[in-house]
């Protein structure tokens, strides 16, 4: 029997980026807010201290700060003809667990989507014709535009102290920035990071073949920074431990380094850790959420009543909670009806490793220290001759040279023995890898539902992921990988390159990206989406769903920047409209 707790105005499921933003905004509006986080509390000191965090084995290899499949996982199959089996250990993606969520262990690669990314279907149909898109492709336009989000992107970037160079200020293209980006109202809050040896070589090579390289907008502070909340970030030391690690130096934007020092001092905010939400509770009409049920570390069940429920968990868990709580109509790929679980998408990563004749000291780096070209992303090039839509950026990162996972050897090198050892010695200081980071469209056959067989430790069915790479996206990735090879060939002083193309079926074993999207998508039609343009459930108006579960398809950019902007957009609508007149926002 669940213990019933004192009601609050809003309960947040999860306590990562989106919960930190919503918590800050709604407590500013005077609400009593509680966040329920399934993992432990974590903060820069002591959890990420420099005497602890720079430990590749513990954090990157043994995955100390991520979701534990033993407690929560999903089942996976490539297509409906297979039996889905549990993801028994983490691999392809790494959801975070604990306060700060995946915002603790991201790299800081911070992007805005392009204006056309928000009009994916109508834009492509207009430019290439309706028949250009495959029948099974279920991409949809967003119900909001880049212009709607611009001020919220700006708010997010100034919260985080993003280091970068504008490429488009109010329509005027800026030297040194991304000429393909949507117009921004003002410069980045901080200048770009220092440039590493590998990114300099990439920059020169890309320019020499007529491309437009620019520094990746970085959530790694290039200089000391005080954000609008008064929280201070320190200058990045280029220690090379960003992705999969917490930042020891208050340099990487995370809830801990941007919001929590303010939010945690508020009397009208509280949080509980080791509190796993297992269900959103509804009243007898099924149209109103009454709160959530959660289980604490001792296995005790609690009911937290609330006027509003806001799902701020990882995208996959938002969709899972909707499914187990029986909110909305589950997607049925056969009849192509229902919406919950629809349009799950992912991303494509191929690599071209480059071997230099000079040392580049790969261990000096930062998570978002990279030089990028966007010439082949989105709809920045004519897709007509190619027969696919979407694209990828090509980047040369110098994120670190952590030796267990970040060593590159030329094709044909033995995997063990004296030849392997010799190749390690010859190449570690003289190699780097280009990433071809591509979008994945959404398809009828790629979706999320509940598994009929396997359960989590709380007794809930595991979510079942049915997903495979489709021809459009594989063709796109190959095309852009070929362009990356042209850059590799143009690198001066290169001793050769490896192509690690992305081909064949999607597999859940190899790490690719933690950019899982969809399942609770945003739209303007309740029959084809789960939430309206303000991230409000169509079915239960006092339930909001934040995060990348909203994305109708996955463009070729890392999602965090858009997740942050969308959260600010939704928070604004809740504050300025919903609270005055609770109910469905039109």
């Amino acid at each position: 029997m669940a213990t019933r707790l004192k009601p609050v105005d809003a309960v947040l499921v999860g306590f990562g980026w989106t919960a930190a933003i919503i918590g800050q905004e709604l407590t500013d509006a005077g609400l009593h807010v509680v966040a329920l986080e399934r993992g432990p509390f974590r903060d820069t000191v002591p959890d990420f201290s420099p005497t602890q965090i720079q430990d590749e084995l513990r954090y990157a290899v043994r995955k100390a700060t991520f979701e534990e499949p033993e407690r929560e996982t999903l089942t996976f199959r490539n297509d409906a003809s297979q039996t889905a089996l549990p993801m028994r250990q983490l691999g392809s993606f790494l959801p975070g667990v604990g306060v700060g969520g995946a915002g603790v262990h991201w790299n800081g690669q911070n992007w805005r989507f392009m204006p056309t990314d928000f009009k994916m279907r109508s834009h492509c149909e207009q430019r290439y014709g309706k028949k250009f898109l495959p029948d099974d492709m279920t991409i949809q336009d967003w119900p909001l535009t880049y212009d709607d989000l611009e001020q919220y992107y700006d708010k997010w970037e100034y919260l985080c102290g993003i280091s970068g160079k504008a490429g488009n200020l109010n329509g005027a293209i800026q030297e040194g920035g991304n000429p393909f980006e949507g117009p921004r109202k003002r410069e980045f809050p901080l200048p770009p990071l220092k440039r590493s040896a590998s990114t300099m070589k990439f920059d020169e090579a890309a320019k020499s073949i007529g491309l437009h390289p620019f520094p990746c907008p970085a959530g790694n502070a290039s200089q000391p920074y005080t954000n609008p909340l008064g929280v201070k970030l320190g200058q990045c030391t280029y220690c090379g431990y960003c992705e999969w690690f917490g930042c020891a130096n208050y340099s990487k934007a995370s809830p801990q380094t941007t919001i929590l020092p303010v939010l945690l001092r508020k009397d009208n905010f509280s949080y509980r850790t080791n509190a796993t939400v297992t269900r959103v509770n509804l009243d007898s009409t099924g149209k109103k959420a009454t709160g959530v049920t959660y289980v604490d570390a001792q296995g005790r069940e609690f009911e937290q009543p609330a006027e509003m429920v806001i799902l701020c968990a990882y995208s996959l868990h938002n969709a899972h909670l909707l499914l187990v709580s029986k909110i909305g109509k589950p997607y049925d790929p056969v009849s192509n009806t229902g919406a919950v679980g629809k349009n799950y998408a992912y991303q494509m990563s191929a690599y071209v490793d480059v071997f230099f004749d000079e040392i580049i000291n790969p261990f000096m780096g930062a998570g978002a220290l990279g030089q990028v070209v966007d010439d082949f992303n989105g709809d920045n090039f004519d897709h007509g001759p190619h027969g696919f839509i979407g694209g990828a950026y090509i980047s040369m990162w110098q994120t670190g040279g952590r030796p267990i996972l970040q060593h590159y050897t030329p094709t044909g090198t033995p995997k063990w023995g004296g030849g392997f050892k010799k190749a390690l010695k010859e190449n570690y200081l003289r190699s780097s890898s280009m990433q071809i980071h591509g979008g994945v469209m959404s398809y009828r056959q790629n979706s999320l539902d509940l598994d009929p067989t396997y359960r989590d430790i709380y007794g809930n069915p595991l979510m079942r992921l049915t997903f495979d790479f489709q021809k459009n996206d594989l063709d796109m990735e190959q095309y852009v990988t070929d362009r990356a090879v042209e850059i590799a060939k143009a690198v001066k002083g290169n001793r050769g390159y490896n192509v690690r193309a992305r081909t064949g079926h999607y597999g859940i074993v190899e790490y690719q990206t933690t950019h899982n999207t969809g399942g609770a998508i945003i739209g303007d039609d309740p029959s084809t989406s789960v939430i309206n343009k303000y991230c409000q459930s169509w079915d239960v108006p006092n339930l909001f769903v934040m995060g990348a579960s909203a994305f109708p398809q996955n463009p070729g950019y890392n999602p965090t920047g858009t997740v942050g902007a969308l959260t600010y957009w939704a928070a604004d609508a809740i504050k300025s409209r919903y609270l005055k007149n609770p109910g469905a926002l039109a």
Partner: protein
């Protein structure tokens, strides 16, 4: 020459283990400090340890470039990892039903890594006994390489576990031990990091990152052991 000395020490340690049956004896070369030897074998028994020592010596061999995985203490690393949360699969989803699945669906075996190693080592030694009338550790370096390659390619079939899966795990763990911070027992005296030129968790490269093409001047440090202790450990 390295092969010969390795074989003689393995044979010597094999007879030592027969003599001291109450305690699993150290199979570490005598130049290793007492501190490390005293806390060495925790999961592997003497025969299993001989297998791991021999496999490490082939996967990253000692040669002109410097120490190999055996000299770097990687067997200690693997032994400790198998005794700990990794070896026990403490974070893995280990509920049935069990089914083989596709390559894309990943690991679907009931075995924890520790169980996987135990079954596989005994299976491989049985295979070697049949083929060569010797345990794996007693084979010549070339014979050992042939067996390892057979496991890698899945050409040798083991009765209890898939050979390729075991070899993949072993290779991954050897690489981990060679390159993880020395506080985990491998990468002794920074053998792995010195080989490639990684200085360890140095933390701050603000001044150096724009000095293109210039070698980083400082020697490696360990996160917990500092410099001097790690060199001894």
């Amino acid at each position: 020459m390295p092969t010969l000395s390795r074989r003689s020490f393995l044979i010597a340690s094999a007879s030592a283990s027969a003599a001291a049956c109450s305690r699993v004896p150290s199979t570490l070369p005598p130049e290793y400090p007492e501190q490390t030897r005293s806390d060495a074998p925790v999961f592997l028994d003497a025969g299993e340890r001989r297998f791991i020592n021999a496999a490490c010596a082939r996967i990253i061999p000692k040669d002109d470039l410097g120490p190999g995985a055996l000299e770097a203490g990687v067997p200690d690393f693997i032994d400790r990892q198998l005794a700990g949360p990794f070896g026990q699969a403490s974070t893995w989803y280990m509920q049935g039903p069990w089914s083989k699945g596709s390559e894309q669906q990943g690991y679907q075996l009931k075995f924890t890594p520790a169980q996987m190693y135990r079954h596989a080592i005994h299976n491989v030694d049985d295979y070697c006994s049949k083929q060569f009338k010797k345990a794996f550790a007693e084979l010549s370096a070339d014979e050992q390489d042939t067996v390892l390659a057979g496991l890698e390619k899945g050409e040798i079939e083991l009765p209890d576990v898939p050979a390729k899966t075991f070899f993949g795990m072993l290779l991954q763990n050897v690489t981990e031990g060679f390159f993880a911070d020395p506080m985990y027992g491998g990468n002794r005296d920074f053998a792995g990091w010195k080989l490639i030129g990684f200085p360890g968790p140095r933390y701050n490269y603000v001044d150096e990152i724009e000095q293109y093409g210039k070698p980083y001047p400082l020697p490696p440090v360990s996160l917990k052991l500092g410099r001097a202790k790690a060199a001894k450990a």
